[in-house]
Point group: C2
Chain length 334, copies 2
């Protein structure tokens, strides 16, 4: 049900009855390692390309979530998935393996919350009994496509973020035990004219703030409604900018309330991660793994996840375009 | 509301209150030219890249549809759009121009019906008053990305299809006059092992048949329910294969009932188009332009559009993968 301009309220409160997170070697060394269902030492997962490794991450996340729900894939009516790779081939190919009716999504690193919003809408509107969301990213596959192959060993500025190798899946159902999706705010595309693909956090921060503002306005809520508010993957640079922008927009956001998946997923002193994590998989594994585990343990009761996406392509950058960004916010309660 | 395994029935029958089709120079020479709102002689639309030209096609289609509905863009709650270009940049950049909360989709050439299904679901579930679907493709931008730049002048086999330069937009609303969306069947990914990107029709035909079979089974209908059934863009080769497969699956499909957007959009003897049209824009302009006009004139009352998508990427082809395909079917009545 539409509330305000751009927010859906899910009256039946669709439930995430099971979720899963699969990660790679850098994630295994990070502070959220205990929240993963599977961690791979081999960034190739034994596959002969990074893209096929990413497909495998998705298949494992989906199969784990379905198994944890004591279901078979035939019990799931729809799969909503996406990733960062051209034509989202890891998603399409894992949809082929799973053979579940498939809706392909592209929202860059906001895809996890775009998918969770739509899956919850499907369940809330009785258009699905069970809908599966899955999102992934793969460090080496992304670097190769967006920047330079990792093997080149090119240098990066400290504002750059490290693409997460991981996939998160969440199985949304009309009934059951688990975190409940209560509302979603779908974001507009915001572009403040930034052009540096090595500083995505700064580009995405205004989109996160625009969506947060819309969320609080549409639901007539303020940040204190939540135990925790996490942006998708702004990293350390974007997180500071978002904090400043929120103040500037008159939103009273206590510093300890607002965190960021890109900051949480790696240790600050972990080599190579620079300003923090990024990639579709970042908000997905942090939310579907870490946060949902904390909710199930009773440590968190009401959270808001604002996944942010930088909607650039290597070509739009070469064509000297700035970076349009989007953010979708999902309210989850237990 | 879910019916059967994979079909949504829209009880409130969301209405396409306005739609628009914008095309390029080849479409202007085709038999559907009178159904376009705008036709461009210049394949660049005065822009400095083909991708920016494609963005312009989308913006014009959206603005035309909104204007024909006597609305402003502020009246539209959500924009659902997609295209074939890496990271769907034409869609993201036109979403920036339009500033409407944005859900990015990727379903290759099935995206028009993926979008129309989701927009109808939004309206049917009262999650939007007005939702806009927009899809595009651009011949030169697609050829450059998927095959070779047109300027190379490379030869093609007769099974190849010609990517449509065009964008179609449809504005779905809870009430008003126009074609009504009554049901959608969301397809599974089907891959019969075909690997030839110059024969997509053959690769996609089994996906179209799988979705048609699911549609008739879920709704307990047979083809005679419809005045016209159109596949997305199988072209002449895929169309013949689909006909044979339907017979093989025991579906009684009268030959004159089944047509294909890829066949209709160009004259058979039009130079360069070979086996017919393809691309996201093909099913979009044919449906949102031609078919909806015929429905408004009373020539068609019940139609089923089965948009088909080949979910390959140039990289998946180089990695010697076969071509996974998907098809989504939307039932529209007036």
């Amino acid at each position: 049900m539409l509330k305000g301009h751009q927010t859906w309220v899910f009256e039946s409160k669709p439930t995430v009855i099971a979720s899963a997170a699969v990660g790679g070697p850098y994630e295994a060394k990070g502070p959220l390692a205990p929240d993963f269902d599977l961690l791979h030492e081999d960034i190739r997962l034994g596959q002969d390309s990074y893209e096929k490794a990413e497909q495998k991450l998705q298949e494992q996340a989906c199969e784990t979530a379905i198994r944890k729900a004591n279901m078979k894939k035939e019990d799931v009516q729809f799969l909503l998935s996406g990733d960062l790779i051209n034509q989202i081939v890891p998603s399409s190919f894992s949809a082929r393996t799973l053979s579940i009716p498939f809706l392909g999504l592209y929202g860059a690193c906001s895809t996890s919350m775009e998918g969770l919003s739509l899956a919850s809408l499907l369940v809330d509107s009785k258009s699905a009994k069970n809908a599966l969301v899955c999102v992934s990213s793969h460090n080496a596959a992304s670097e190769k496509q967006y920047r330079y192959p990792t093997e080149y060993g090119s240098q990066k500025p400290p504002t750059a973020q490290w693409t997460v190798t991981g996939s998160g899946a969440a199985l949304v159902s009309k009934q059951g035990k688990g975190p409940k999706v209560t509302a979603s705010t779908i974001g507009r595309v915001i572009d403040m004219g930034l052009t540096d693909p090595f500083n995505m956090g700064a580009a995405m921060a205004p989109a996160a703030v625009d969506t947060l503002e819309a969320h609080f306005r549409d639901l007539d809520r303020d940040p204190s409604y939540y135990d925790l508010i996490a942006t998708g993957d702004l990293g350390r640079v974007g997180h500071r900018i978002a904090g400043d922008l929120l103040k500037h927009h008159g939103i009273d956001m206590p510093e300890e309330l607002l965190t960021d998946c890109g900051i949480l997923i790696y240790h600050e002193d972990q080599p190579v991660v620079l300003a923090g994590g990024s990639g579709c998989g970042c908000a997905a594994v942090t939310t579907f793994g870490h946060f949902f585990n904390r909710m199930r343990k009773g440590e968190l009761r009401k959270i808001l996840i604002v996944a942010t996406g930088a909607l650039l392509s290597p070509m739009s950058f070469q064509q000297k375009e700035s970076i349009p960004c989007v953010a979708h916010a999902v309210s989850i309660e237990i």
